[in-house]
């Protein structure tokens, strides 16, 4: 792991003072730049309206008002909003895991006719900016072709488009490609159906990548804004980001910030727990080679 980088280890040893000074500076600056605003957010939401308008601003809340957080929870109906977001995220994970894994398995191991063309058409969608498709996608969701269903305010309006994720298919297929074909053939010879092979040979080996895909699905739903804003217009179906935005206009600043803090807690916790998986997924996600 400790392979040679820009500066050699001997150089580092010679310039030990410089190294430690630089490290101290970087650690301080990074903490201030990346953690500082979060500290400001959490504590700012504890201040009173008066204290927040004070110059110079106070570093610690003089009279911490937990009431702001309670107000955010009650006025914005955050419990409901968080539940909705969690429900959409969980469904997205299930749909992605089932349908994208099956598709990647077919493309990697079963390789039916036109498989390459299908994969190509899927990957081509990576080139299309989301904003370009937002209007025709919306029009499609209000009236699905052929079946003429309206998916507005239905969780399927979030779940199904999440399946159309070429990056996931690519990620999964790459992982499956690394599993030797002989293993699959051996299972087939032993009379295992393709489904059985997927369930008892491929999936157990693919656990790490399935974890990465699930985490990405959860954070994608949690962070998404415009799409849920459009397809979940009813106040009872909103996601947490959209809900806070909808209330921001008529709510005191500190309460909005308190709500933003609460909305951010789940993704931050997920990140702190799964940071290794997230980082490895991000860096091995096809961008390396």
């Amino acid at each position: 792991m400790s392979s040679r980088t820009l500066i050699s280890s001997t150089q580092v040893k010679r310039g030990r003072v410089v190294y430690w000074t630089l490290l101290a500076v970087v650690v301080t600056v990074f903490t201030l730049v990346f953690l500082g605003p979060l500290y400001w957010m959490v504590t700012g939401a504890l201040k009173s309206g008066q204290e927040i308008a004070q110059t110079p601003p106070t570093l610690f809340p003089q009279d911490p008002r937990v009431q702001n957080y309670a107000d955010a929870w009650n006025h914005l109906n955050l419990g409901k909003l968080l539940f909705n977001t969690f429900y959409y995220a969980a469904g997205a994970v299930v749909f992605q895991l089932v349908l994208d894994t099956a598709a990647a398995y077919a493309l990697s191991k079963l390789r039916p006719v036109l498989g390459t063309a299908i994969l190509g058409s899927m990957l081509a969608t990576l080139m299309i900016p989301a904003m370009v498709l937002i209007v025709p996608q919306y029009v499609t969701v209000i009236e699905l072709p052929v079946v003429h269903l309206n998916l507005l305010d239905s969780p399927f309006a979030i779940w199904l488009p999440m399946v159309a994720n070429a990056f996931n298919i690519f990620l999964l297929k790459r992982f499956f490609d690394a599993i030797p074909d002989e293993l699959v053939q051996a299972a087939q010879v032993d009379g295992a159906s393709p489904l059985r092979t997927l369930a008892s040979i491929i999936l157990p080996m693919a656990r790490p990548i399935l974890g990465v895909v699930s985490i990405f699905a959860v954070t994608a739903v949690w962070k998404d804004f415009l799409w849920p804003k459009l397809v979940m217009p009813h106040p009872d179906t909103r996601t947490v980001s959209v809900g806070i935005y909808a209330f921001a206009g008529g709510t005191p600043m500190n309460v909005v910030i308190a709500a933003s803090v609460i909305a951010a807690i789940p993704t931050v916790v997920i990140f702190l727990i799964f940071q290794r998986n997230i980082m490895s997924g991000l860096t091995s996600g096809g961008l390396k080679g």
């Binding site: 110059t55 598709a103 077919a106 904003m131 051996a186 010879v189 933003s260 997230i278 390396k288």
Partner: protein, 314 residues
């Protein structure tokens, strides 16, 4: 061993069967394969492939009171005539360039720096990536209310006052709107670029640095002659991805500037799509603007690919 024999047995099985049953077998296998694919393919068809075509078709139609008619280029002329059209493109372009200068070069140097440290690397990585995990709406409210508070109680203004620099009105000043959006956007997004760079930096063979050092190359020349050429592919790819992402600038103007901003200083192409489609009841005009955006990005990508491949030859 057992794997090998199994593979041999499969081979045997296939050769033994007569042609007709082999074809039937192949068709059955194909059907099974497509059965596994069907769910994802349907989702792609409904929410990706069909909307792509539908978007182009819509841009030449007009739907009024449930009646759809072909209107030729009307939507395009109407959208271009929107008073905010050119401002939106200009803002988007300025934002993209500034975000590229800040959000593209900065992560690269941060990654190079982090790669040199032998301590606290885990902590630093977590720090850089933490903002990426925040819901953008949360992070932007933080910037809007606390950092960009135009009074002296705002975080940025308090810092500026502390170091005796003039304060700014941030989002209320049309001149500062785009830089303020670039700062917020870079803070939120740079983490993923840093991590991707870090991974590619770790793939650079140490011998190259060794050799460069023996040739007397200093740190800066090692970066220019080893690090950058070795990571060129990732650099090129990320530049492309970053440009496509920043061209879609939307949530920053929506939250930080309440949409268009002071004197249209924040209005972006993506925001204009949103406004036409969902406020002015002009989905067709919005679709036309989407097609224009796609074409601009396509022309740009083609040019970009030519540029990077030509460098390859040299």
């Amino acid at each position: 061993m057992s794997v090998l024999t199994a593979a041999a047995r499969v081979h045997e099985e296939v050769t033994v069967h007569p042609a007709g049953s082999r074809r039937r077998r192949r068709i059955l296998d194909d059907l099974t394969g497509h059965a596994f694919l069907i769910g994802a393919v349907l989702c792609f068809a409904l929410f990706m492939w069909y909307p792509m075509i539908r978007g182009v078709v819509m841009s030449f139609q007009r739907t009024r009171r449930g009646e759809t008619t072909w209107v030729g280029w009307d939507n395009y002329t109407r959208i271009v005539a929107d008073p905010s059209f050119w401002t939106a493109w200009q803002n988007t372009f300025v934002f993209t360039v500034l975000a590229l200068v800040l959000g593209y070069a900065l992560p690269f140097f941060v990654a190079i720096l982090l790669n040199e440290f032998r301590h606290a690397t885990g902590y630093l990585r977590i720090l850089v990536y933490l903002p990426v995990m925040l819901p953008p709406a949360s992070a932007l409210f933080l910037f809007k209310y606390y950092a960009y508070d135009p009074s002296e109680a705002g975080l940025f203004n308090a810092i500026l006052t502390a170091v005796h620099l003039p304060t700014s009105e941030w989002m209320q000043s049309p001149r500062m709107t785009i830089p303020a959006m670039v700062i917020a956007s870079t803070w939120m997004n740079m983490g993923s670029a840093v991590l991707i760079y870090l991974a590619s930096l770790q793939n650079i063979p140490g011998e190259l640095y060794e050799a460069a050092e023996l040739d007397g190359a200093g740190v800066w020349r090692r970066i220019v002659h080893v690090t950058i050429p070795q990571t060129r592919l990732i650099l090129a790819l990320l530049a492309m991805m970053q440009i496509v992402a920043t061209m879609q600038l939307f949530i920053e103007p929506l939250i930080l500037a309440n949409g268009a901003g002071t004197q249209d200083s924040a209005v972006s192409v993506a925001y204009l799509i949103y406004q036409h489609g969902f406020f002015q009841n002009d989905l067709n005009g919005a679709a036309a603007l989407g097609v224009i955006m796609l074409l601009v990005l396509a022309v740009f990508s083609a040019y970009y690919v030519r540029l990077t491949t030509r460098k390859d030859d040299a």
